[in-house]
């Protein structure tokens, strides 16, 4: 399958801390990739570099063979890489419906807008097309009952869903989810992931997700990349990576291994 996202030798340091030491990952189109690792292993730094929030000290990021290393987050979004956040980033004073309408409005301007209509568009944001799309999205993510509720009063699980729904309305080619089930009850986590994966499959996009929960990673990933101290410890099929001895020691038993020397990089 064709490689859609390709990072080559990404390096990033924060003072004495190395968050990425030569991260190279080639992600194939329409695949689901799980990123695992202990806190501080460099997963979120990797996500932040790919989405333009952080600029790598060295290395390149290619999206469909186009260099996006120096691009701004909004330009990367416009190209087709969208993300959700570990702490949901919503418009808290607005309702679920309004959050989606704004997301759709921006998508509309990015995808369909000419220079003129981008600036002077006098079509109401809540036109029938947008309302229909927002309702479809709410239905898909089980948000209809929260339609008129302000985002700030929603339960955490619903906030996560809305955050992901907003990323998905842009119809991205690559969707990056940063800990989609963190802070969510054990009962809700599979519901959330089922809904997300259902929505993703229906329009076909590549998913990269950061996750601490091994049950989730095992069930939903086709490929797992294990991070440790800014490097890739193992990269491959879920069964192979999770049975890897170093992954067992340094990632799954991560907390126990704190303070021990970093192992060498290998591929499972």
């Amino acid at each position: 399958m064709a490689v859609i996202l390709n990072t080559k030798g990404l390096c990033k340091s924060f003072g004495a801390v190395t968050a990425a030491a030569g991260i190279s990952i080639a992600v194939e189109a329409d695949s689901v990739v799980g990123l695992i690792g202990t806190n501080g292993a460099g997963k979120t730094t990797f996500v932040n570099m790919v989405t333009g929030y952080l600029k790598p000290d060295a290395g390149d990021i290619l999206f469909k063979d186009r260099d996006i290393t120096e691009l701004h987050p909004r330009d990367i979004t416009r190209l087709g890489i969208c993300r959700s956040f570990q702490i949901p980033q919503l418009y808290d004073s607005l309702t679920v419906f309004e959050n989606l309408v704004i997301a759709l409005g921006i998508r509309d301007r990015n995808v369909h807008g000419s220079v003129f209509s981008r600036t002077f568009k006098l079509v109401p944001a809540a036109n029938p097309l947008v309302v229909g799309a927002a309702e479809k999205s709410m239905q898909r993510f089980g948000l209809l009952e929260y339609r008129e509720r302000a985002a700030r009063v929603l339960p955490e699980g619903v906030r996560k869903l809305l955050d992901i729904a907003m990323a998905l309305v842009s119809e991205p080619e690559v969707l990056i989810l940063d800990e989609p089930t963190s802070g969510v009850s054990a009962d809700e986590k599979f519901t959330i992931m089922d809904m997300v994966m259902g929505a993703v499959r229906s329009h076909g996009c590549t998913v990269i997700f950061v996750e601490h929960d091994m049950e989730i990673v095992t069930r939903y990933s086709q490929r797992i990349v294990a991070f440790y101290e800014g490097r890739i410890l193992a990269d491959g099929k879920p069964g192979d990576v999770l049975s890897n001895e170093q992954v067992q020691t340094y990632v799954i038993g991560g907390l126990r291994s704190l303070g021990t020397a970093a192992p060498g990089v290998s591929h499972a």
């Binding site: 969208c82 418009y91 004073s93 309702t95 704004i102 409005g105 921006i106 301007r109 944001a125």
Partner: protein
């Protein structure tokens, strides 16, 4: 957001009523016209407030709009009222476009103080410019429309009618803008700029556009005021004038494009009566009125109407 927006119809109703009762209220026409001029400035301020930005310098554009009218009238003998209003709006919009490149980078107190500083620079420049009358300013000759003089002595109704129509058009256009995708970005930017950028929109250019719109409306308000009073002076750019606009915006609320005009009319009435009955303590009366509104209607006077509408 899904309900049909009735604002344009309410505005049209208000326009018809104002135009109809105007001839019977000769004593109030000047005050009402001034309120409409100020309401236009506050309308622009409301667009900024919805985005989470407070400008303490809208007096700058109010003054520039008025001086554009005055200068064209004084030095180029332009008398056409529509041309003068257009010039006031355009000059303010051009200046706002230029200053917007700087201001769109700032938020919160920094944005507020920078806007205030810029307006005080213009105030300082005007005070020192003897060609423009220094602190005294200068008179604006009566303007005309379709060959008839419509402002100046004895022409309060024509300029009032023109101000009503101009305010109506500006309010309807601003209202439609607020309902577009770009207009709706205001609340999104106020709530979460990071998310707006990660959805693929530029916060900076959205703020810049809104700042230019606010500047243009303030320029139009200044132009209306210049024609109504027939005199302009640098006080229009002074920080207390800008503060007054913020006062009116809070008094009226940001819930609707009607609120700024309602706020401006009530403000002018309270001030006029307060000044008439307690000339030494009129600020105290205004302050008390503001305090009462903040305590009982924290979202401004407009929220009282919104509450009534929800009940019915």
């Amino acid at each position: 957001m899904t309900r049909t927006d009735k604002t344009p119809f309410i505005l049209l109703g208000a326009l018809v009523v104002l135009l109809a009762v105007g001839p019977f209220l000769p004593k109030w026409l000047f005050l009402l016209t001034m309120s409409l001029g100020k309401g236009l400035v506050v309308l622009g301020l409301v667009v900024l407030l919805r985005t989470g930005l407070v400008s303490f310098g809208q007096g700058l554009y109010y003054c520039v709009g008025a001086y554009a009218v005055g200068s064209l009238s004084q030095f180029a003998s332009v008398r056409n009222a529509l041309l003068l209003l257009l010039a006031g709006t355009l000059v303010a919009a051009i200046l706002a476009t230029a200053l917007g490149f700087l201001l769109a980078n700032y938020r919160g107190i920094f944005f507020a103080m920078l806007t205030l500083a810029l307006s005080m620079i213009v105030y300082g420049l005007l005070v020192k410019t003897s060609a423009l009358g220094s602190t005294d300013g200068f008179n604006v000759a009566p303007a005309s429309l379709l060959g008839k003089t419509i402002s100046g002595q004895g022409n309060q109704y024509p300029i009032f009618a023109l101000a009503c129509i101009v305010a109506f058009v500006a309010a309807v256009l601003t209202n439609s803008y607020l309902w577009t995708a770009l207009g709706q970005l205001s609340s999104a930017i106020r709530d979460n700029e990071i998310r707006v950028e990660y959805m693929g929109a530029s916060v900076r250019s959205a703020i810049h556009t809104k700042y230019v719109l606010a500047g243009a409306l303030a320029g139009l308000g200044g132009a209306v005021t210049a024609l109504t009073i027939g005199h302009i002076d640098p006080e229009m750019a002074y920080w207390t004038t800008s503060g007054e606009f913020v006062f009116v915006a809070i008094l009226g609320g940001t819930g609707s494009v009607i609120a700024p005009f309602l706020g401006a009319i009530i403000f002018e009435f309270i001030r006029t009566y307060a000044y008439q009955y307690s000339p030494n303590t009129w600020q105290l009366v205004l302050g008390t009125a503001m305090l009462l509104v903040i305590i009982f209607l924290p979202a401004g006077l407009w929220s009282a109407f919104a509450r009534l509408r929800r009940r019915t």
